[in-house]
């Protein structure tokens, strides 16, 4: 009995002493490491004391005196304080684990590593961690931090009437989310925008996919001449920056002076169509533009897949007496869909958030009286309007959260399915 208790003494004592980082290591006779950790801890608290002091108080209260306390700066400080504490806790956990592990080695009679051995150990096995850490730190502060900021913002009431420094911002819990569904004006706008976003996503993406696949199959015909030239021309819409194309289209679709109404339709004898001032026609124009911009990518991808389909399948089908359409439906289409399904799904999520084409074409479409969103605004462009023109920052953050829930669920679902795509094999 005394043996087992003795046998675990070192590790327990080391762990216990490690409440103050460094002491455990010193107990384990790893002087350098222990001293380094002690100094690190001391420096950590001295450096960041101020940050923790104000940051933690600030993020809980968001300030109590206007002008002296800038609520947003306090929230930022608070988030940074929490992130630094998290990093600190990580190092602390490492410290505890290290002391325990080395205590265990002493218990088992293995003896601890010398300084040189430790150094070599770190460089060898800790190399990936060493290389990753600067990038990881950068990631935390430039990606994680803004995300946390937006998430927290959606639980405050930051808008025009509550803008620092003259006013304080307060925590309001789920009020923003509840308001979006409870208050008439918000609910109506949200439902309208959300439904149009869904319709837009499915219609525009399906259009561009169908056109892309159709053209790819067409151009892939064996006897077609000038394949390379045709493929180059069809890739052009993708090559020109979408930004520029959309602005040019906006000019071309202009009701009174655009070439589409003035030149093309007039020559065909059709009356001028109110492209930009009628919600329905704006939507038609948008779907057309997005198909134009989006099909080259699908086209290129599908062409690649088509060239990987073995010829024997088609020959066998011809022998069995299959028609063109049957060949397409039973051989070509399943192969294409299977190979490109994950990417097609990303096309849907891309269009769900396609700010450029909606905003640049007509700024969210002809305005609807009594609504703050335009008739062709999708969620993301509505969020932009809420932020820039109406200073409703907290509500915009809340809508962003709702949008993210949709996008993240789709991404997760797609991730799961991708695995199953990879495991199955068509042939």
């Amino acid at each position: 009995m005394p043996d087992t208790r003795e046998a675990t003494r070192h590790r327990k004592v080391a762990l216990g002493l490690s409440i103050i980082p460094g002491l455990g290591q010193i107990y384990n006779r790893q002087w350098f490491k222990g001293l380094a950790l002690l100094i690190l801890t001391f420096a950590f608290f001295t450096c960041f004391y101020n940050l923790f002091n104000i940051g933690l108080w600030g993020i809980v209260t968001l300030g109590t005196v206007p002008f002296r306390d800038d609520s947003l700066f306090l929230m930022v400080k608070g988030i940074i304080a929490l992130l630094v504490i998290a990093i600190g806790l990580g190092i602390y956990a490492f410290n505890l684990y290290d002391a325990y592990k080395n205590g265990k080695r002493r218990d088992l009679g293995l003896g601890v590593h010398s300084l040189r051995e430790q150094f070599r150990h770190v460089v060898d096995q800790g190399f990936p961690y060493l290389i990753l850490s600067p990038g990881f730190l950068l990631l935390i502060f430039s990606v994680i931090f803004p995300i946390i900021f937006v998430v927290l913002l959606s639980f405050t009431n930051y808008n025009f009437r509550h803008s620092p420094p003259a006013h304080l911002v307060d925590w309001v819990g789920f009020a923003n989310f509840i308001d979006i569904f409870k208050l008439d004006i918000w609910r109506r706008t949200f439902i309208d925008v959300f439904s149009w976003t869904i319709v837009w996503t499915f219609t525009a993406t399906t259009c561009q996919v169908v056109i892309g696949i159709f053209l790819a199959v067409l151009v892939n015909q064996k006897d077609l001449k000038f394949k390379k030239a045709i493929r180059t021309v069809l890739i052009l819409p993708w090559a020109i920056p979408a930004f520029v194309s959309i602005l040019v289209f906006a000019g071309m679709f202009n009701d009174s002076f655009g070439t589409i109404n003035v030149d093309i339709l007039k020559h065909l004898g059709i009356d001028a169509v109110p492209w930009l001032t009628n919600p329905f026609w704006t939507k038609v124009a948008l779907i057309f533009i997005q198909s134009w911009l989006g099909f080259p990518f699908i086209f290129a991808m599908t062409t690649g897949v088509l060239q990987a389909i073995p010829e024997e399948l088609y020959e066998a089908a011809t022998v069995d007496g299959a028609t063109m359409w049957q060949k397409f439906r039973q051989i070509t289409l399943p192969m294409i869909l299977y190979a490109t399904a994950p990417i097609l799904i990303t096309q849907y999520t891309f269009n769900f958030n396609n700010f450029n084409v909606i905003f640049l074409f007509n700024g969210g479409g002809p305005a609807i009286p009594e609504q703050t969103a335009g008739s062709t605004d999708i969620l993301i462009s509505w969020i932009y309007k809420l932020t820039i023109s109406q200073a409703q920052y907290a509500k915009a953050a809340a809508v962003t959260m709702l949008l993210s829930i949709v996008v993240i669920s789709v991404a997760l679902w797609q991730f799961r399915r991708t695995k199953s795509f990879q495991e199955e094999d068509m042939i």
Partner: protein
């Protein structure tokens, strides 16, 4: 490992305690609170600062430098300045640099931004004696007032006026009826008698207001955001009057929308237009194109009233974060006094709304300056309340529908007012 978990919990609790007994008093350099400093007839109670920082509009530092130099000599306070685009960067940088302690003491913005800057708490009210405010025109002081308090002193005023090509028109007409007749006879073959941007509310307001419309009802200096006069009879009449110019072909088609401004400029500098309604900012371009132009206040409307153009007033303001507000106020008074305003006009062409200067030959003999001055007295300042920002776009949409004949004036304006009211309610939503 269980012990590890217990330790972690203990630490989290410790952190929790820390947050509770956080600092009740802290650091963040206290932006001076709103306690206004008494000026006591020019006696300044605060100590002289080492320096004062001024943020001036881009490209206008030539006009600023002589004034700064004379202030430095008189009071011995060093002045640093920086130039920033006034329309947007000024207030964005102020919002961030001010609380951080790197902001200016004195800065300049167009007067219609005053409302939102005050709501955000970035500007402090000025305490100047009436002997100083009386030196400026009434409308320019009104532009600097928000909710009854004065927030700045005016440094330049601008308003659209009547500009004519002396080769194509002898002298400015006195009434719009005359101008209308002239235009009917003159407009043919790519030449136009009179042009202006009718679908831009900044210009259209002059006519809609001249016939009796208004944006927000003015109750003795305070604007009522619930009372919009954009679709009342006067406004509808004004909008129809504007549409008439388009309907009768006196305006070209391409002068609508975002490219309207450049189209108008292009036509005028090519010598194809006899007269236009535009602002002093276009003087440079016309000079460069060699057009011999004349300037006059706008003619009378058919109902006997003058068009009430929107005047834009640029002013000097004191930042709420200034550590020496009294000295900053003194600097503002200095920069806008008659002498420095005159120098500013000489160097940058910006017209100061200083009453005494109207009689000064430098302005009285300058056709352009005199026209702007007179027209500014007949005009009204753009509302400086934050709700004004919600007016521009719906009005532009409505005007575009009216002038292109797609919708009648009353229904289009009614829709615009509905949209504006909705937007204002959302803007002010608690």
């Amino acid at each position: 490992m269980k012990r590890l978990a217990m330790l972690m919990t203990a630490i989290l609790l410790l952190v929790g305690i820390l947050s509770a007994c956080g600092p009740s008093d802290k650091s963040t350099s206290s932006g001076s609170s709103n306690a206004s400093s008494k000026n006591n007839d020019g006696k300044i109670s605060e100590p002289k600062p080492d320096k004062l920082v001024v943020w001036e509009d881009k490209d206008k530092d030539n006009a600023l430098k002589p004034a700064i130099k004379s202030f430095e000599e008189k009071y011995g306070i060093k002045i640093e300045y920086k130039t920033l685009p006034m329309a947007d960067k000024m207030r964005e940088r102020l919002r961030l640099d001010g609380p951080a302690g790197k902001g200016p003491d004195v800065f300049t913005v167009p007067h219609d931004q005053i409302g939102q800057l005050v709501v955000q708490g970035l500007m402090r009210p000025l305490d100047v004696p009436s002997s100083v405010t009386d030196t400026f025109t009434d409308s320019s002081i009104q532009a600097q007032t928000y909710k009854g308090k004065l927030y700045g002193l005016p440094k330049a005023v601008e308003t659209p006026i009547f500009i004519y090509n002396k080769k194509l028109m002898d002298k400015a007409p006195a009434t719009f009826d005359e101008l209308y007749q002239f235009s009917k006879a003159f407009t043919k073959g790519g030449k136009y008698g009179f042009l202006f941007l009718g679908d831009n509310y900044y210009f259209a307001h002059a006519y809609m207001s001249g016939f009796g419309g208004y944006v927000f009802k003015n109750n003795n200096g305070t604007l009522d955001i619930k009372d919009l006069g954009l679709n009342n009879d006067g406004a509808v009449q004004g909008a129809e009057w504007i549409a008439k110019w388009y309907k009768e072909g006196l305006f070209p088609k391409g002068i609508v929308g975002t490219n309207g401004g450049s189209t108008l400029d292009g036509l005028f500098t090519e010598g194809k237009v006899a007269s236009k309604m535009d602002g002093p900012w276009s003087f440079e371009g016309m000079k460069k194109a060699g057009i011999d132009y004349g300037v006059a206040p706008l003619p009378k409307l058919p109902n006997g009233e003058y068009p009430k153009t929107f005047i834009g007033v640029k002013g000097w303001h004191v930042s709420a974060y200034s550590k020496s507000p009294q000295w900053a106020t003194k600097l503002v008074e200095w920069l806008t006094n008659a002498e420095n305003s005159k120098i500013r006009f000489e160097k940058s062409g910006e017209i100061p709304p200083v009453k005494a200067l109207l009689k000064d030959p430098i302005i009285a003999d300058n056709e352009g300056a005199k026209a702007v001055f007179v027209q500014a007295e007949r005009g009204e300042p753009m509302p400086n309340i934050p709700e004004m920002s919600q007016v521009w776009e719906p009005m532009a949409n409505a005007l575009q529908l009216i002038v292109t004949g797609k919708q009648g004036a009353k229904p289009a304006l009614d829709n615009a007012v509905k949209t504006i009211e909705t937007n204002i309610t959302q803007l002010n939503a608690k």
